[in-house]
């Protein structure tokens, strides 16, 4: 098992705080463990990038890129102390030497500062087997966003070599809980996908649950019980400004943004306690009822085309996944049959797969159902796995589980080949939601 201990430097945190007035200093860093990688990871040498002193804040861009690639479980980075030369340009790479050291690829680069307000990351990716230059790019970033720029370099390298768009320059939101029951403290947190730049964006003595991103990445919606009843809030990620959008009688739960971020699907119960699915138009405030059944209907999620909504219902006894038109006026169609319990579905970015929580004889696991064939396969084996959320590239899921009595976050590739764990030093962590691509 390889362990990547992620710890924010004071410098990068300071820059982040300066950038975001809403930030609260983070309490604990996330730790990423690769619990299972591919059997034959791709060997790559990432040479330290030439620095731009005074402007780069001391950030080691090459190290960030290497850690990203390794954290995917699909790459093995060459140890720097084994490197015999440190080229920063492709033309200075002695391919034969790097090949002898068993590398298939090499990434070299340098930071160029034209002014204190601008940094350019120049980088070249070479195929050492045929000498071909695969990437020769310039990426312009603000100095305060240099780490983000490094993640974008990793995204490009990952895509060039694997054919799948990288998702390193993305963020995750999740809930943490501190203290013994019944007095607990709830926080909604945001972190980069590598665990850095963690910050609290909301905290309460009452439960916070069901965070979800708007597809444009500008907003996070969540449920808060701060007024002793559930209410749905929509909070602007950048500023922390927030608005209460639903505090009707009974339950206000399970918010889900439409693909164009203009509507929220949600669960309402009214005072009679009957949970049904509704769509709230954030512009007109118009409310459309999609289901009307005495059973529990909840956990709506939108298909990428915005025409269909998937949800959980126990109208047939145990909870199962159903599909209904987002316009309403349609009888829901049941989709899951093979398990006694299927709940909280999320649909893959390409619209072909459902990730969900399914129970079998050994507990609650993350499973994937192919929408065309209806075939269901289990991806995880934890006893209390829940809350799957797709990476925006569809290649991975982040989810929550329990290990030795503690809530942990974990990731699994949709092909099941790579598993990772993101563990917080203290407190429970749960309900991870992977943010969208930022560009």
């Amino acid at each position: 098992m390889r362990t990547l201990l992620v710890s924010a430097t004071a410098a990068s945190r300071l820059m982040f705080l300066a950038l975001l007035v809403a930030a609260v200093p983070a309490r604990a860093d996330l730790k990423i463990d690769i619990t299972k990688g591919v059997t034959d990871p791709i060997p790559i040498a990432v040479v330290a990038f030439a620095r731009a002193p005074l402007v780069d804040g001391g950030l080691d861009v090459g190290a960030v890129v290497q850690r990203d690639l390794e954290s995917s479980g699909r790459f093995r980075g060459m140890d720097r102390k084994d490197m015999l030369s440190l080229p920063v340009r492709g033309k200075d790479v002695q391919s034969a030497d790097w090949r002898t050291a068993r590398n298939d690829y090499i990434l070299v680069g340098r930071l160029v500062s034209s002014s204190p307000a601008e940094l350019v990351i120049e980088f070249e990716l070479l195929n050492l087997l045929n000498g071909q230059t695969l990437l020769d790019q310039r990426l312009s970033v603000q100095p305060a966003s240099l780490r983000y720029g490094a993640h974008r370099v990793a995204d490009q390298v990952y895509e060039k070599i694997t054919g799948t768009r990288g998702a390193f320059a993305t963020r995750v939101a999740y809930v943490s809980v501190d203290g013994p029951p019944p007095k607990q403290r709830y926080q909604l947190l945001l972190a980069d996908m590598d665990g850095e730049n963690m910050r609290v964006i909301m905290e309460s003595q009452q439960p916070i649950m069901s965070p979800t991103w708007s597809p444009d990445g500008q907003w996070i919606a969540y449920v808060s019980f701060e007024n002793h009843a559930s209410a749905i809030f929509v909070q602007r990620v950048r500023t922390g400004e927030r608005r209460q959008v639903s505090a009707r009688a009974g339950i206000n739960g399970a918010p889900a943004f439409s693909p164009d971020s203009s509507k929220l699907a949600l669960t309402l119960s009214g005072s009679t306690g009957n949970l049904d699915i509704y769509v709230l138009d954030l512009g007109s405030q118009g409310l459309t009822r999609l289901t009307e059944d005495p059973a529990i209907d909840t956990e709506p999620t939108w298909a990428p085309d915005g025409k269909t909504i998937y949800f959980t219902s126990d109208r047939a006894g145990g909870p199962q996944i159903y599909r209904v038109s987002a316009q309403g006026g349609e009888q829901p169609k049941r989709l899951t049959f093979g398990v006694p319990y299927a709940a909280r579905a999320r649909i893959s970015p390409d619209g072909t797969q459902l990730a969900l929580v399914a129970r079998d004889g050994s507990g609650y696991h993350i499973a994937m159902q192919d929408l065309a064939s209806g075939q269901l396969r289990f991806l995880t084996r934890g006893a209390l796995d829940e809350s799957p959320s797709f990476a925006p590239n569809g290649a991975q899921l982040i989810y929550a589980g329990r290990e030795r009595g503690q809530g942990v976050l974990a990731m699994v590739s949709v092909d099941g080949q790579v598993t990772q764990r993101l563990k917080s030093d203290q407190g429970e962590v749960r309900e991870p939601v992977w943010g969208p691509f930022s560009n």
Partner: protein, 183 residues
């Protein structure tokens, strides 16, 4: 797009009070309170802390003073449930009835029924199960003549466990409805 959504959301807050004509009504007083807290949240750069004084609700401690029925039955404020069930167990029928008689005879007193589940299964679905339990107790109280206006329900699902642990002793303490006297 960004600007439009901001305007939309501001409008949505203003429109909240006007939603009462719709099928689903806002809770009396709840929206005003929440909007105030929204404003406070905005002033403190978005990190909104809810008051610590609100944290005492439920927990079955009976720390709400003299309100509620007296005697052994009346001092019991927590109704426990079996796995995957919202039926009131026989040993709790008399407890619920005692609270029902007290509330029916004191029409100005109100309770909040807080439904809870154990940690197994998905969170929002558990909110539904907790609500089902709270509604069962609400119906039992109504049978004693308690008015609808005296009873509020809230479901915390698995979000506010009474006991920590992933075993049946903890689970059995967490599948519950707490009867909380609120005035």
């Amino acid at each position: 797009m960004r600007k439009i959504l901001t305007v939309v959301l501001m409008a949505s807050v203003l429109a909240l009070g006007a939603c009462s004509g719709k099928k689903v009504k806002p809770a009396p007083g709840a929206s005003g309170q929440a909007i105030a807290s929204t404003d406070a949240g905005a002033q403190t750069s978005g990190v909104a802390s809810s008051g610590a004084d609100l944290g005492t609700g439920g927990s079955g401690s009976g720390g709400v003073g003299a309100l509620g029925p007296s005697g052994a039955l009346g001092s019991q404020r927590v109704i426990y449930f079996d796995f995957d069930s919202s039926d009131i167990r026989p040993e709790f029928v008399d407890v619920v009835a005692a609270h029902g008689r007290f509330l029916a005879g004191n029409a100005s007193i109100r309770v909040r029924l807080e439904g809870n589940t154990d940690e197994r299964g998905s969170r929002e679905y558990n909110i539904g199960l907790g609500e089902r339990r709270a509604q069962t107790v609400k119906r039992a109280l109504a049978l004693q003549g308690v008015k609808e206006s005296q009873i509020a329900t809230v479901s915390y699902g698995e979000e506010r466990p009474a006991a920590a642990g992933s075993d049946e002793p903890a689970y059995s303490k967490n599948r519950r409805v707490e009867i909380v006297y609120i005035n």
